[in-house]
C-alpha cells in the first residue's frame, strides 16, 4: 500500500502554491497601499478581514451546494466535500471575526458589540458549529449525511442576511467598501488592488484546502470500510 507516500495531486499543489505565493504579493500590496484618511494604517486589517469573510461565505455556499448534490445523488463523496467546505468556512469565519475584533477595538472602542452585522455573523457561526455537533451526534452515516445536508442547505440563508445586514439595519459596522449591490467601489485603486489580490489568494487557498480535505475524508472513509475503524 503506497497511498501514504503518494504526493498531493498537481491541482491541489498548484492551487496551494499559487495561493500562498499570491498571499505574499497581497502583503506587499497591503504595505504599499496608502493610509486611510480617518483610520490611517489600521485600514490594512481590511485586506485580510474582508478576504476571510468573502471566502468564508463562499465556503458555506459550496457546502450548501454539495449538500444539495448529496440529497439528489446520494453519493457519500458529496457529503464529505460538504463537510470539508463547512469546516474551512467555519475557520475562515472565526479568522474574520478575530480580524474584525482587532479592528473594532481601536475604531469603536470595544472588541464586540451586539449590532446587526456582528449578531448575524455570530448566528452564522453558531449554525455551523451546530452542524458539526450534529455530525458528531449521529452514528448512522446515511442519517448523519441527510441531517447535515439539511443544516448546510438551510445555513446558506445566513449568507445574504449577514451580507445585507449593514444595509438593512444601518448601525456601527460600515457598509461594503466594494459594494456589489450598487456596483460602487469606495476605496483608492491601490487599496482595491491589495484587497483583490488577497481575495484571489484566499480563494485559491480555500480551493486547495477543500481538495486536500476531501481527499483526506475519502482515504479515511476507505480505511473505515476496510478495517472497521
Amino acid at each position: 500500500m503506497t497511498r501514504g507516500n503518494e504526493r498531493l495531486d498537481p491541482w491541489t499543489l498548484a492551487l496551494l502554491g499559487l495561493g500562498f505565493s499570491l498571499l505574499l504579493v497581497g502583503l506587499w500590496y497591503a504595505l504599499k497601499a496608502p493610509p486611510d484618511r480617518d483610520q490611517g494604517y489600521l485600514v490594512r486589517i481590511l485586506y485580510v478581514h474582508v478576504a476571510a469573510a468573502w471566502t468564508g461565505y463562499l465556503a458555506f455556499i459550496v457546502a450548501g451546494l454539495y449538500a444539495l448534490f448529496y440529497l439528489i445523488r446520494q453519493d457519500p463523496r458529496y457529503d464529505r466535500l460538504s463537510a470539508a467546505s463547512a469546516e474551512i468556512g467555519l475557520w475562515l469565519s472565526l479568522l474574520m471575526v478575530l480580524g474584525g475584533m482587532m479592528w473594532a477595538r481601536p475604531t469603536w472602542g470595544v472588541y464586540w458589540v451586539w449590532e446587526p452585522r456582528l449578531t448575524s455573523v455570530a448566528v452564522m457561526i453558531a449554525v455551523y458549529a451546530g452542524y458539526f455537533l450534529l455530525r458528531q451526534a449521529i452514528e448512522d452515516p446515511e442519517l448523519r449525511a441527510k441531517a447535515a445536508a439539511a443544516v448546510a442547505i438551510l445555513g446558506v440563508i445566513n449568507i445574504p442576511i449577514t451580507y445585507m445586514s449593514v444595509y438593512w439595519w444601518r448601525s456601527i459596522h460600515q457598509t461594503a467598501s466594494v459594494d456589489v449591490i450598487n456596483r460602487k467601489v469606495h476605496m483608492a485603486p491601490e487599496m482595491l488592488a491589495a484587497l483583490l489580490i488577497n481575495l484571489v489568494a484566499f480563494t485559491l487557498i480555500y480551493l486547495g484546502f477543500l481538495r486536500l480535505k476531501g481527499k483526506i475524508a475519502a482515504l479515511e472513509a476507505e480505511k473505515e470500510e476496510a478495517y472497521g475503524f
Binding site: L8, Y41, R44, I45, V48, G99, F209, K223
Partner: protein, 35 residues
Amino acid sequence: MGSNGIFVDVVYLATYGFLAGYLGYLVWRYRRAGR
C-alpha cells in the same frame, strides 16, 4: 502607524499563522490517512 499597529500585527500574524498551521495539519492528516 502609532499605537494601533499592534492590532494590525495581531491580525496578520493570526492570518498567516492559521493558514500555514491549517495546511500543516491537513498534510499531517493526509499522510496519516494514507498509512
